[in-house]
């Protein structure tokens, strides 16, 4: 059982990379295979389990940068104006996304409130902000190590960022409320739909493999030993 025990200990020893940098193993079935160069826009799939291993993106960094610059503008608008409002017998009410989470918090549902705040507000902000950091860092000739640390954890923000799920939820809430009151769709409702589209494009156009190949290795000696062609381009 020393394997499991050692998993809890922070080891400081680095692995040795395989000599051939195009060798990889599928993360869904562990099939060792050679990843050949593919055309722009084309994708490579695992021959055994059909997992997409790599999709090469055209002009990935610039396009992702453009989208990560547009996204914060929409994000700020979406979170500062109401998403949904209603009017009934002369009374008005409206709520923002954060207001929805706040209402849960104030009504004895603190945990659910935190979950809503996290998945609809915090995680999307991290998804956008960290992607911006990754792209800016990766635009240098050799991406510094922190870019790798951020990139490694970025998928978590993508899993928990649930704006598109929220949008369906808001739609259902809207239909429910229509039975009692006149619903006033908020500006945030429209802005968030655009943001959903932009975030989807941002993720789809981003080529993480391209960034990994530019990144400064944690174990710099190994990289030189591996004779990586990129190492020659460094200052």
């Amino acid at each position: 059982m020393s394997h499991q025990e050692s998993g809890l200990v922070h080891t400081e020893i680095y692995n040795q990379p395989v000599a051939d940098a195009s060798l990889i193993a599928c993360l869904h079935c562990d099939l060792p295979q050679r990843l050949s160069e593919i055309a722009l826009g084309a994708s490579a799939r695992c021959p055994r389990c059909n997992k997409e291993l790599w999709r090469r993106r055209e002009d990935s960094l610039n396009r992702t940068l453009a989208l990560t610059l547009a996204a914060p503008v929409l994000y700020v608008i979406a979170n500062s104006v109401p998403i949904l409002g209603l009017t009934i017998v002369g009374r008005d009410a409206s709520t923002t996304v954060i207001g929805g989470a706040q209402h849960l918090w104030n009504n004895g549902q603190q945990l659910v409130g935190v979950l809503v705040l996290f998945s609809a507000v915090v995680a999307p902000a991290l998804q956008i902000g960290l992607m911006l950091a990754i792209v800016l860092g990766a635009m240098r000739e050799r991406a510094p190590r922190w870019v790798g640390a951020v990139l490694r954890h970025h998928p978590i923000t993508r899993i928990w960022s649930m704006i598109e799920v929220m949008m369906v939820g808001v739609l259902v809430a809207l239909v429910k409320i229509v039975d009692y009151a006149t619903v006033i769709p908020g500006i945030a409702l429209f802005v968030l739909w655009v943001l959903v589209f932009i975030l989807a494009r941002m993720q789809a156009g981003f080529d993480s493999r391209e960034v990994w190949e530019k990144i400064q290795w944690a174990d710099e000696a190994q990289r030189d030993a591996a004779g990586d062609s990129l190492a020659e381009g460094t200052s």
């Binding site: 050692s6 993360l27 099939l31 929805g100 899993i159 939820g169 009692y180 990994w212 174990d219």
Partner: protein
Amino acid sequence: MSAAAMTAMQQGLQSCEGCGLLSRPAAGELEGRCPRCDEELVFRKNQSFQRTWAYLIAATICYVPANVLPVLTTTTAAGAESDTILQGVVLLWSPTGWPLSIIVLIASIMIPSAKIVALAYLLISSKRGSVANNEQRVRLYRMVEFIGRWSMVDVFVDTFTAALIQLQPLMSVEPGPGLIFFAAVVVFTMLAVESFDPRLIWDSANPTETGPREVTYA
């Protein structure tokens, strides 16, 4: 099988979940760090079976109160009325609302239960060393992974319904005690999916001959 190993583990190679680099532990070591991104490498996700089972059991326990307790309480002049998730689906059913009613039915009731059953099946079949339907099983895993977050729909429906309908004394809606359990089902099943290592599906088809001896998953 040893002529062309069918898994990287059989060759003693570890692939990095962070950056995808394939590397070999230093001589005498069973695991190490990724030389590129510094991630701690393992052949298979740490204690994948136990952790996935733990989250799955937690989700199953929460599933009962999530469906029995009300998620919304509506107070009007006529009195208070509480609705469970299923009652919410029924209420939504109308000549115009039925497509959304079906969406909520699928997202809130069918997906969470299907996820629990699918993950239990993946865990049991992998543990028992099944070699059948590997492609279908890994596809099932991907489907569960992709679809899981959509169960959150109902949490958002209730959030915005409760936040908006605050028209005391005419009518007000408050979140019910079932909501936290429902949210817990969604979160626990998502964590279960993240803990499961789909490579375990393939390990029994490729018994470790040359790989590290101590890789056991109790």
